[in-house]
């Protein structure tokens, strides 16, 4: 029962995100050309350092780089070419891994990042919101105070530092879980049960470090929302006509959760940022680790490629959240009467 207003809402978000994407890719285009000291020449000088042993590769890469950045052409042609390529999914050729395409390097690592971030974010969201709601419901009891204090502290722990603590404690001290990677060295990823169990073992610590530290923020926000909604007119009225407390609390929970869904969209960026660094700490072979590798060798085509892909995924996720929001909030689905 998609009404006109819902379609309009979705369309508006879509247009907005598309514009945002164009702006973001434009930044990618402008940066290397605008920053003083011409980073492109840096790239070239860097190139010879990286691939000293293979002069042929250098020359090829150099030529390639000139072509890819379209140097020598007027800037607007460069821009049109750049955007055109970006929309086609052609992100150029890596320098470090020459002659492999940037896209071919990124695609295999994306699943690792997705598998880590998606479940961790959703679990943290659910747990955090439940805890926050519980605290608000038992306002001013020790449960509330405990949850609030805990959340305030936990929400300020960077994922990656919690990761370090976990590695040290559960991996190094107790020896319960592996300390790095996504699977044991030497194994080849396949669909066997043994590999799954091995990957799972490696998964627990990075997963937990994201879940635990992301939970705090949700709990704090949800607690405030629920306290606010508990004092709202509909909650009071429902009580006056004899609605059971449990039911009223479900109403309050539902209505408090709606803004938290929008909050999820807004927080995706910082969750991603934190998760990328967590991958580095765990040597987890995801996008963050690839980005780290690219940064240490100043492989600019690869850096840009990772950036473009990540930004696009954040916008896509944003759009999905918006879509879900439009589905679950009737005020958007049907359109509020002014």
């Amino acid at each position: 029962m998609a009404s006109r207003s819902a379609v309009k809402y979705i369309l508006r978000r879509l247009i907005f995100l598309f514009i945002t994407y164009v702006v973001a890719t434009t930044i990618v285009f402008i940066l290397p050309r605008a920053i003083p000291g011409n980073p492109l020449s840096q790239i070239l000088s860097n190139l010879s350092r990286v691939a000293q042993s293979n002069p042929e590769a250098i020359r090829a890469a150099e030529k390639n780089l000139m072509e890819e950045f379209g140097l020598g052409k007027p800037w607007y042609l460069q821009y049109v070419e750049f955007i055109g390529k970006a929309l086609k999914g052609d992100l150029g050729t890596s320098i470090t891994y020459y002659p492999r395409k940037v896209m071919d390097l990124i695609v295999p690592v994306i699943p690792w990042t997705l598998v880590l971030i998606l479940p961790a974010t959703i679990v943290a969201w659910i747990l955090g919101n439940s805890l926050g709601a519980l605290a608000a419901y038992r306002r001013n009891t020790w449960i509330d105070k405990g949850v609030l204090t805990g959340s305030l502290v936990v929400s300020q722990i960077p994922y990656y530092w919690l990761g370090m603590i976990f590695i040290f404690f559960f991996g190094v001290k107790l020896g319960w879980l592996p300390v790095q990677g996504a699977y044991s060295q030497g194994t080849i990823p396949d669909l066997s049960w043994a590999f799954f169990m091995d990957a799972l073992k490696h998964y627990i610590l990075p997963f937990l470090s994201i879940v635990v530290s992301a939970m705090g923020g949700w709990a704090i926000g949800m607690r405030l929302m629920v306290i606010y909604e508990l004092g709202s007119d509909y909650a009071n009225f429902s009580e006056y006509i004899g609605m059971k407390d449990k039911r009223i609390f479900r109403y309050v929970f539902r209505n408090s959760l709606l803004p938290q869904v929008t909050g999820l969209a807004l927080s995706l960026g910082s969750v991603l940022g934190g998760a990328l660094i967590t991958e580095i700490v765990f040597n987890y072979p995801g996008t963050g680790y690839l980005l780290f590798k690219a940064l240490t060798t100043l492989d600019y085509p690869l850096i840009q490629g990772v950036f473009v892909i990540l930004i696009a995924s954040v916008y896509l996720a944003n759009f999905i959240v918006d879509f879900v929001y439009a589905l679950i909030d009737p005020r958007i689905r049907i359109g509020q009467e002014e």
């Binding site: 509909y234 006056y240 004899g242 039911r247 009737p330 009467e337």
Partner: protein, 330 residues
């Protein structure tokens, strides 16, 4: 006593703050008869909204019942609801025997579910058959002048006036005997105000509710539907009287001042002129000694500063708390 629905004896309810108490309801005694409309009138801060909380025993910290008793007639016999806890009163009487139309009725319905679902949940909460209650609501929707198909909608799809009527329909669905309406018309335009009053009275005429307490600052509105009027000032009842007598001849100086400050589009008002009561209502943390109105009263006597005037009946059905009428007693 047999046709009394609600009886309050020397009710006192304070907002107990850290160091001080706000004496918002301070020694109120009155009764509400079956089949009547009583208007509770007073200016902001006189304790009239607190009174509605007290009637429901809706004591939420820091509001505390300090003393007094409230009785409600349930199935022919009186229950002392002031002896029960808030949760017990809520469980036993809210929505069933007593109900409310809140000040902010526009936002009173759960916004993100359809009204039909809401009624289903209400049935569940009261242990009733959902289908039956929905049918009853449909009937009630017709009675308050709403399309029955609107029950399948979300509250925000209705206009403000219609939402208010939906609230009336839902809140009276279990035929409670007492309805308390707290400033129900202040958010409506005058045309919808009148519609609201009509709906209210039709519910009473059909016997869906027995008695109505209308809490408001607007005497002219009360005048349209009330049988009796309670005038409150600074946490106390200063006058309680049938409405026509009160308008004819207000007894308490405060009542008189209040009446003469009302501006309605009537030639009588122009002739009468407008009166101001000097000063401002006292704060209720540390109210004036004796009669709380004495600092603003044009007829102030020495005794008013020292002693508190009791609320006494000086004519059949007319009670006033003022020393001007001390002689007329006995």
């Amino acid at each position: 006593m047999e046709n009394v629905l609600l009886k309050a004896e020397n009710l006192r309810a304070y907002y107990k703050l850290e160091k001080v108490s706000v004496k918002a309801v301070d020694g109120l005694s009155f009764e509400i008869y079956e089949d009547e409309v009583v208007g509770v009138v007073g200016e902001s801060g006189c304790g009239k909204t607190t009174l509605s909380n007290v009637i429901f025993m809706n004591m939420v910290k820091p509001l505390t019942l300090v003393g007094g008793k409230i009785f409600l007639k349930v199935n022919g016999s009186f229950e002392e609801i002031s002896a029960l806890s808030r949760d017990e009163v809520k469980e036993k009487f809210w929505g069933k025997e007593m109900t409310i139309i809140p000040q902010s009725a526009m936002n009173a319905l759960m916004p993100t579910i359809k009204m039909e679902r809401y009624v289903q949940h209400l049935a569940e909460s009261h242990g009733l058959d959902a289908r039956e209650l929905i049918d009853k609501t449909l009937q009630r929707f017709k009675e308050v002048g709403l399309e029955t198909s609107w029950l399948k909608r979300y509250p925000f799809e209705l206009s403000g006036g219609m939402r208010q009527r939906a609230v009336i329909a839902v809140s009276t669905i279990l035929n409670p005997s007492l309805l308390v309406a707290d400033e129900p018309t202040s958010a409506l335009d005058v045309v919808n105000q009148k519609v609201f009053l009509k709906v209210l009275m039709s519910l009473k005429r059909r016997g869906i509710v027995k008695s109505i307490i209308l809490i408001t600052h607007d005497i002219a509105t009360v005048r349209q539907i009330a049988d009796r009027m309670i005038i409150m000032y600074a946490g106390k009842i200063v006058e309680l009287s049938p409405i026509d007598e009160l308008l004819e001849k207000p007894l308490h100086p405060y009542t008189e001042g209040l009446l003469n400050s009302v501006l309605t589009p009537e030639p009588e008002v122009k002739k009468r002129g407008i009166v101001t009561i000097p000063g401002a209502p006292p704060n209720l943390i540390d109210p004036p000694s004796g009669c709380r109105f004495h600092p603003r009263c044009p007829h102030m006597m020495d005794v008013c500063k020292e002693k508190e005037p009791p609320l006494v009946e000086i004519e059949p059905g007319r009670r006033v708390a003022c020393f001007l009428y001390a002689g007329e007693r006995t």
